[in-house]
Symmetry: C2
Subunit: 371 residues, 2 copies
């Protein structure tokens, strides 16, 4: 498709360093995509996102369809025109949020009827409606509409959701028209390797330019997730981008890149920042802790981010305790820089064929700090 | 005093264009000082303040003494070291806030005993304590401790407060030791010209490097304020900076520069931004208004600020309605730019001896828009 490409430029074990080209620019992978739920990453201006090296943002179909509405966004030039972010966007399918946020859900083969968590208004999300919304939003990458069962769902329910996700993926592809937008399929199947395998094979048979792995940020145990990724690695086309949805901690990202994942999104760095938790090279730091009240050091003395260059722990703690919005801004900038910078480091180590060495050292340092 | 100076560089009528030099840099006047209550301008990073041309910030003695505490700030290098703002700071005396925010106030000649609005703890603010706090905070400019009666106080109460403010000004000067900090006196007297005259004469006799006019942002009618400023103009030393505390609207600033004021602070541009009200060259704009929901224009099409260069009314309205913090950031940046830029325009027109022409055109445009 014009304007799009993906190349794997280097491999080290299962880990891959690649380059994703979109109509709104190139993205080096592995990549972390900050979550811009309502068309804006919470507490951080676009300019600061660019400065710290964020290259592609995620926006939520569910939130945007309800407010301000996808037709309105389309009339203002789509997400790019509306928000002013001129780099690539990815929109999710709406499936995950409709199952976690919406009230009075009613699911059938057509789709999901639900009431808005904002004003109770009635809506339908279906493969066709999700494609309509995502084409209105005009992100560079759209996602097939999927059913995402909870992590503790019984196998029967997961199996049914997985088969439905495949049928919905076919309908999504049929309903998708925009030539300037890539549509990715989503593999479901919980922690059941046979269901995952069926899902992957059927989606690959339908054919998508990229594949996401859904349903692995819903409370399942980490060994189960790792096994799923290892099982999927040979099943997914080696030359297509792979996106692990909604995951996760720094350790999760490292361990998933080790299993061949190229793209990630997660609210953890942004949400935790607003709650006063900072990710640092030597573990997590809760700025509320009284011991930081007169600590003149930056959050992470080894970090070159704009926050660590200018703000002390004492100042950040004060701003957080005083309820100042700039506390959220400064700490979100740091956490996103940490995530983006970690992806850069992984990419570099893969290109140098030293990923396992980097991974071991990084995980050891994080584990030591957690003690 | 070393590192400090003030020169009036141009006059046009009573209006003055000057240059204030402090140990942390020069400030061209007339100047608007954004309010950084807790050592941070709400919702805006220091870098953005610098970019839009803000040169000197105000911090509130009352807030900083209670949280994080002035001794802690002193230990971290004063306001400059603590906050990382490397330009000039001014601290108020604490008087205004203790009369408007604190609980269980008890006023006598020594000072004001009160309970913190945060945790109920008992405190004393007196001239000596205010000087101790302000010297701990280490702003470039400190203010004498004053009593600020409400705008509807009877003449007797205003007279008493004015005389006490003079006595407290003398004690403030006696208690002030820092050679790298200027201490300004505060003229009180409400809208009573004779009380204002007495206050000004006595403060000038004590002798300060600069003079503030207090008690004119407390609900008094505007003609009363204008008369006070006109009356004070010949009474205050022509070569000293004059600071009108807590005022005000764009029209207020224009009309007060016309009466010889050099320095201003006010929460209006920052507070209104957080409530969705934008100041524009053609009047005020409430971003909540439904007519802006699909308006692709920037808030002020004639404005070169970072917000107007990148964000539409529709996007700002969406962010505001969705409760996104970046709505406050983007709109505060615009409103502060508007204020700072208006001061630049006034300065320029004074230097060109075209202030009255500029003032008339500006006020006419604002008045037309309010209709």
């Amino acid at each position: 498709m014009a304007g799009f490409s993906f190349q794997v430029e280097a491999r080290d074990g299962r880990a891959r360093a690649g380059r994703l080209t979109t109509p709104h620019g190139e993205v080096e992978t592995p990549v972390f995509m900050p979550v811009g739920t309502a068309g804006a990453v919470k507490a951080v201006l676009h300019r600061d996102l660019r400065e710290i090296g964020a290259r592609i943002l995620l926006a939520n179909t569910y939130h945007m369809m309800l407010r301000p509405g996808d037709a309105l966004v389309a009339g203002l030039g789509g997400l790019h025109g509306f928000t002013g972010w001129d780099g690539p966007f990815l929109t999710d399918s709406g499936g995950y949020q409709v199952f976690s946020l919406a009230a009075l859900r009613k699911l059938d083969e057509e789709g999901v009827r639900f009431r808005s968590h904002l004003d109770g208004s009635a809506h339908l999300l279906s493969p066709e409606r999700s494609m309509e919304i995502q084409q209105n939003l005009g992100a560079d990458i759209a996602m097939a509409f999927d059913e995402c069962p909870p992590g503790d769902a019984p196998r029967e329910a997961v199996a049914e959701a997985t088969l439905r996700t495949t049928r919905w993926a076919r309908r999504s592809k049929d309903a998708h028209r925009r030539a300037d937008q890539w549509l990715f399929g989503i593999v479901q199947g919980g922690v059941h390797l046979d269901l995952r395998e069926t899902s992957a094979r059927e989606l690959v048979a339908i054919g998508f330019p990229g594949y996401a792995v859904g349903g692995l940020s819903v409370g399942e145990p980490k060994p189960g997730r790792d096994r799923v990724l290892e099982h999927l690695d040979p099943l997914l086309p080696a030359d297509r981008p792979r996106y692990l949805m909604g995951v996760g901690t720094p350790e999760d990202l490292v361990d998933s890149v080790a299993r061949g994942i190229d793209m990630f999104d997660c609210v953890l760095p942004t949400r935790n920042a607003r709650n006063g938790q900072l990710f640092t090279r030597s573990g997590r730091l809760s700025i509320r802790n009284a011991k930081y009240r007169d600590d003149p050091r930056p959050p992470d003395p080894d970090c070159p981010c704009p926050t660590c260059r200018t703000a002390s722990r004492a100042y950040l703690r004060h701003l957080h305790q005083a309820g100042e919005m700039t506390a959220a801004t400064l700490m979100t900038v740091h956490n996103l820089f940490y995530y983006v910078d970690m992806m850069r480091a992984m990419r570099q180590s893969i290109r140098l064929c030293r990923f396992e060495e980097w991974r071991g050292a990084t995980l050891r340092r994080l584990a030591a700090a957690e003690e």
